[in-house]
Symmetry: C2
Subunit: 438 residues, 2 copies
């Protein structure tokens, strides 16, 4: 019954070495792992010393050799980046081999093309490791939550920014100082843009939204604001008001906008967001990730854990390999695919214009320290139809005053109009910060 399944590994970096290490020590893990064999591994440099023992004759510097090797049944892509990863994935699919990848950038941008090719070839492309590191979230969205109408997926899905924000909150530390330390500790890249500017989170929420709502998401249309302009005082004010500041990625179903093709309208975005202290996402600190899924009839479920790292990410990669190995034992007679595991699109979705998204807001104005300014700001919001939950003045020494407003839920369009009107009020110097608020 048990036939050896050959694994071809593209890349032997942090995640690749973690995968090899699991395959090399099957004891105490699911017994199917003993049937997996690391048949061929593509590396950049044959001479480099490695933390895992792999016979030299299985190593190659040519990734095509791995994909084409007849002893390789499942191709594991952990190179990262767009190319050559995309081409190698497509080549594996063409060769009739299932693929496991941790590559969120490729899946967020080329997922539709890859899924179509996989469906045509009758193979799986599994991506548990692409979002949330070790946290099982892709599998549950595909298999455990399919009975629900998903309303919203929101999460902390970038560990680097969550580490920075947690330290800023805990120590009252400055963004740039914490970033520098995070880089020294290896929690942030030398070029931190993909993390701190929110692009990594945008890749991941595009993937999650596609699975949760059943249709491909246009990655380039996801409005994205990172944390690089976030100031320590905003974290401080938020804390005083009973909130934490998180870089949240959110995808939610909106009221139908009468799209003639019946396409489902979604609001998707990545932005710094205030989260009330008693909200399940508020307690997620450090490099941890968490994804909250809301739907009918389940209500709210949350998945929490390590969002990155060699071991956790490798755990997710090998779980995907096991899924493929498990289903191979069924000896399907007609090459069909399990539609849950394959997770092909079943609906058309589109992202609405950002102005149509409704949310609560946190805004901070820099103002003159003069009587009447709070009143004028409050009235102006009222005139623009924006309902306010709280408006608080914080003193900021010689820089004038700081007025922080938390609104009730309001359309982004109306909010923009109100902010424009307020910034031209007498005594209001500038709009100094504007985030979302849960």
């Amino acid at each position: 019954m048990a036939t050896r399944i050959g694994i071809g590994l593209l890349g032997l970096g942090t995640v690749g070495a973690g995968v090899a290490s699991i395959l090399n020590s099957p004891e105490g893990r699911h017994p199917l792992i003993a049937d997996l064999e690391l048949a061929r591994v593509a590396v950049r440099d044959l001479q480099r010393s490695r933390p895992v023992a792999i016979p030299t004759d299985r190593l190659t510097t040519d990734p095509n050799e791995v994909v084409d090797d007849p002893n390789v049944h499942v191709v594991v892509e952990v190179i990262g980046g767009i190319e050559p990863a995309r081409t190698l994935i497509m080549r594996a699919i063409s060769a009739g081999k299932s693929v496991v990848t941790a590559n969120k950038a490729v899946i967020a941008r080329h997922g539709e093309e890859i899924a179509a090719a996989a469906a045509a070839a009758g193979v799986y492309v599994l991506i548990e490791a692409a979002v949330g590191g070790g946290i099982p979230i892709i599998e549950p969205l595909k298999q455990s939550l399919g009975s629900n109408r998903i309303e919203r997926v929101s999460g902390i899905i970038n560990g680097t920014t969550n580490y920075i924000l947690s330290r800023m909150a805990d120590e009252g530390a400055d963004y740039h100082a914490v970033l520098k330390e995070a880089q020294e500790l290896g929690y942030a890249e030398a070029d931190p843009a993909a993390d701190v500017d929110g692009h990594d989170a945008a890749d991941k929420i595009a993937i999650l939204a596609g699975l949760a709502f059943g249709g491909p998401i246009e990655r380039s249309a996801v409005p994205t604001t990172g944390i690089s302009n976030l100031q320590g005082r905003d974290v401080d004010y938020a804390t005083q008001l009973g909130y934490g500041v998180k870089l949240l990625a959110v995808a939610e179903r909106l009221e139908s906008d009468g799209d003639p093709m019946g396409s489902l309208p979604l609001g998707v975005r990545v932005q710094p967001t205030l989260v009330p202290k008693d909200h399940p996402l508020a307690g997620v600190s450090g490099v941890n990730n968490a994804i909250l899924v809301e739907g009918d009839p389940i209500g709210r479920v949350m998945f929490y854990g390590p969002g990155a790292g060699s071991g956790p990410t490798a755990s997710a990669v090998v779980a995907d390999i096991l899924n493929i190995a498990g289903i191979r034992q069924l000896n399907s007679s007609d090459g069909g695919l399990d539609p849950l595991l394959a997770a092909s699109s079943w609906r058309s979705c589109h992202l609405v214009d950002s102005s149509r998204i409704r949310q609560r807001n946190y805004v901070r104005f820099n103002t003159e320290d003069a009587p009447g300014v709070i009143g004028r700001i409050g009235s102006c919001f009222g005139e623009q139809g924006v309902s306010i939950q709280s408006i608080v003045q914080f003193d900021a020494c010689d820089e004038g005053a700081e007025i922080v407003v938390i609104t009730h839920e309001v359309g982004n369009g109306a909010m923009q109009n109100a902010l424009q009107a307020i910034t031209s009020l007498p005594g209001v110097r500038s709009l100094a910060a504007h985030f979302g608020c849960f």
Copy 2:
């Protein structure tokens, strides 16, 4: 390609009605749901009015008719209790039909027999709804975490007791008063024993441990302490010391005890446990459940959500049905089973004697309010080899004094010896409370 799949429903109570309601409104859910047909439903009373519309000719009061109906391909058991549930499940398996059940009592006690019958018949018995209500935890343990060596599974898996404990902590309320209110609100049964004495949680941890460690667990051997003797002052003292009190179910792998058959030793128990305020389980309040899984290489992942209720539990039941429906599309040529989904045992496990379990402890002594008592208690712990983290005297008016001790990790055997010695010390009146501590 899409053939209708007939669902036979045993029971149309809270969960059954939730399942019927999902099947009756497939729009916006996974498209496979449209292929599911509620073919036959067993109810207790044909005349009773119901919240969901089901054609009268599909109802019957004879559950055997549901199981035997040739239009029923998957049998969903949501009657609860041991019999007739067990017999009906076995009858469905004999008829070659896969089963979905929410019945933790049957699975915890007869799971091994049921699994063996299912494997022999080539059918699945899926149980996502049996633990954690809507939270995906069974599926992740079977499919997403199989690459790990699981070290420990711990969780809040009884919503009733967590609701009571949360209210006791928030309001300083008395156990009996909160229980009474919980009963009035429908959060606790008229006979609350299964919940408050921990038996429900013990059923569930036996199931989780069986999946996490790969071998059947002897349910009757799970040491179980409920919350019915818990006093408000313990919750209060715990809060002052920086802990919450939770009814935790824990299953952990222990060092090999040289079992000649290589069986894996496990420590499994249900008991009130102090959880540090910054631990992920500490924030789980009200009727919510959460399960923390620790393993290598994943580290820690947590699954959080509604642990009971019609909608969440039905979400899990229908997810299981979808899994079966998805895999049916593969037209397996030889009637094989996906070993991950089938989750048959692959290892032998045994529960060690409780005295071998090591843990931190919370103990409260009722003592005379006299000098030297704290010192004598501290010294006695030391003489017995029990290392103490903190020892604090709380004043309890005319009743004498209360001395609370939190120990470092120690074997239960040594702890029992120490407690025996301490309770015979002069000035020590009684051991008033003894819980675990994370």
